[in-house]
């Protein structure tokens, strides 16, 4: 058996210095298994007000983590949502207390397939239970309890973060005063599942993956994982956006090389994104998290469908979609709006016109950020008043 200390050297990750909550309360997962005494890694930004009326919970997407803004202490890069969150930003950390937790199944400190399985004293690998979006959300409830927050001012998240948020609102109808699901869907479409399957198969086809046992050998199926990430990156951009960004431009060369090297800029971009990803993310985590997304179907959880999922909602919603997002389309997002309307919930909706595809929510997209800020600030005024009364 390899030494445990050396296990994660490939990522050069020092996870011991990050904030973690050890959740003592057992959590029964959708698959039937129960997890106990598990860690939830999290980060907070800003200061919680005395009235506890300024807390905003952010749910991260597939490859995100708890390091929303500022500098990510693990990767030493900027937080993944630095465009929207930070001092003076749309989600202003001078004003609001922002919380984000790493999802279970992830690899940034929360319980995931790389953790040691207490039954075997070895990393879980594929013995890790298959988790769902609902499991992720329920695991984060303890964190709010720990932080002493009964009701959030707002919860938000894009992509899988938006799915977690929809689940959060359906499971806890009165835990958020306002909610902003961004570029998401209430269930994964066939195309969504197909793309995730492509990513999983790429990982599994890498011989290094070795049925998930690579962790024991202190290696990472880099090639498979990089291809999986490339698939993702293609789906995050729009056809037009990609054409405008790369076109047929060649990568630092005057003509074709007549080889299979990265002649085109778009190839070089994908390779770069793919191989940068393997430095910070665990292959088995991609399998588990994409599976959770595929299993997500909010209407399936409720007999009356999606409308029933949002019955008795007190939360005020703002749904945002991006016109060129083909992964979670405007229609996917509008279906959520329609269900919320039908259930009588308080819902606003805006479609941001942009060529930047699904990625838009992470980018400096002025109309989007303006809408986000306007909603949160106006909700804060109302929430404060409500709390006062």
């Amino acid at each position: 058996m390899p030494s445990l200390a050396g296990l994660f050297f490939w990522m050069n990750i020092k996870l011991e210095n990050i904030k973690k909550l050890d959740v003592a309360k057992p959590l029964k997962l959708d698959c039937g298994k129960t997890i106990r005494n598990f860690p939830i890694a999290y980060e907070t930004y800003g200061k919680l007000s005395d009235n506890k009326d300024n807390a905003i919970l952010v749910f991260h997407a597939l490859t995100g983590d708890q390091f929303v803004t500022g500098s990510n202490p693990i990767t030493n890069k900027e937080g993944w949502w630095v465009t929207a969150v930070g001092p003076g930003k749309a989600i202003d950390t001078n004003k609001y207390f922002v919380i984000c937790a790493n999802v279970i199944g992830g690899c940034m400190g929360s319980l995931g397939p790389r953790n040691i399985n207490p039954d075997t004293n070895r990393p879980y690998g594929l013995d890790f239970p298959v988790i769902t979006i609902k499991d992720m959300v329920r695991a984060q409830e303890s964190l709010l309890e720990y932080l002493g927050i009964k009701k959030l001012l707002c919860a938000t998240g894009g992509s899988m973060g938006g799915m977690q948020l929809l689940q959060f609102c359906a499971t806890f109808p009165d835990k958020a005063f306002a909610a902003i699901p961004i570029a998401c869907s209430s269930s994964h479409s066939a195309q969504n599942i197909a793309l995730n399957e492509l990513a999983r198969q790429a990982i599994m086809a890498d011989p290094v993956w070795d049925n998930g046992q690579y962790v024991l050998k202190n290696v990472q199926p880099k090639n498979g994982l990089a291809v999986a990430r490339m698939v993702g990156h293609i789906s995050y951009l729009s056809e037009k956006g990609m054409q405008e960004k790369f076109g047929r431009k060649l990568q630092e060369k005057a003509d074709y090389e007549f080889s299979f090297n990265a002649d085109f800029q778009v190839e070089s971009y994908l390779r770069h994104q793919g191989y940068a990803f393997v430095e910070r993310f665990d292959a088995n985590s991609v399998l588990y998290i994409t599976r959770a997304m595929d299993y997500f179907d909010l209407s399936k959880q409720f007999k009356g469908g999606l409308v029933e999922a949002f019955r008795n909602q007190k939360t005020k919603f703002l749904i945002i979609s991006f016109s060129s997002d083909w992964l979670y389309t405007t229609k996917d997002n509008k279906d959520i709006v329609i269900a919320l309307n039908a259930s009588g919930a308080d819902v606003s909706y805006s479609e941001i016109i942009t060529d930047k595809g699904h990625d838009s929510f992470l980018l400096n997209e002025p109309q989007f950020l303006k809408t986000l800020k306007g909603f949160i600030d106006s909700m804060y005024e109302r929430f404060k008043n409500e709390k006062r009364i």
Binding site: V337, I338, S348, S350, I352, Q367, T371, F375, S378
Partner: protein, 202 residues
């Protein structure tokens, strides 16, 4: 001046709506009417608006608004899910005003529709004596850039409701700051002297 006139129409609409009801404002613009209804009458408002800037304006004011097109996206609202649906001065801009109106009557228990009156005397004079398509304060666009596809008069809408068996509960004519109740007996004269007609139907 324009703002003042707008406010007059909104005031008349607000007067038609009881307190503490649920109201959907179709084409809610920057949310001025919604704010008025919410603040003065404690009405639970929702808006539908096509223009992105207007949608943002509403969101900034904390008013719930859905970005969308009333011509094609009214199906998202369930039957009788609102006490009142308000459509202010846009009926004439739809491709199929009858279809939209039917939808509004499906969504709301009652509907408030206001129209710029093409039967207003200044409009008639413009066409009759000058032979030009009328441009007035209420109808500010010229023939080639007007969004209005189906202009009508107060009398037209009155007759339309009659013909289609749509119950008219109240009609108010607005001319500058004056308002008056319109009924069958004074229809001809009010059709001549009202700039805007506001119908409560359903």
């Amino acid at each position: 001046m324009k703002d003042l006139k707008m406010k007059k129409e909104f005031k008349v609409i607000a007067d038609l709506l009881p307190n503490n009801t649920r109201v959907l404002d179709i084409g809610c613009g920057d949310g001025s009417l919604m704010s008025l209804l919410n603040e003065e009458k404690h009405i639970e408002v929702r808006g539908l608006e096509l223009n992105q800037e207007n949608v943002q304006e509403c969101i900034h004011k904390g008013l719930p608004v859905i970005q969308g097109n009333a011509e094609t996206e009214l199906h998202q609202f369930p039957d009788k899910s609102f006490d009142y649906v308000v459509l202010s001065q846009t009926l004439q801009a739809f491709y199929e005003p009858e279809k939209v109106l039917r939808n509004l009557l499906r969504i709301g228990k009652s509907v408030v529709v206001s129209i710029p009156n093409f039967g207003f005397w200044k409009v008639r004079i413009k066409l009759l004596f000058f032979g030009e398509m009328p441009v007035t304060k209420t109808l500010p666009n010229t023939w080639y850039n007007t969004p209005n596809l189906h202009m009508c008069t107060i009398k037209d809408l009155f007759n339309f409701c009659d013909e289609k068996k749509i119950n008219i509960k109240k009609v108010v004519g607005v001319n500058e700051n004056k308002t008056s109740i319109i009924n069958k007996s004074n229809l001809e004269i009010k059709n001549l002297f009202s700039k805007v007609g506001i119908f409560l139907i359903g």
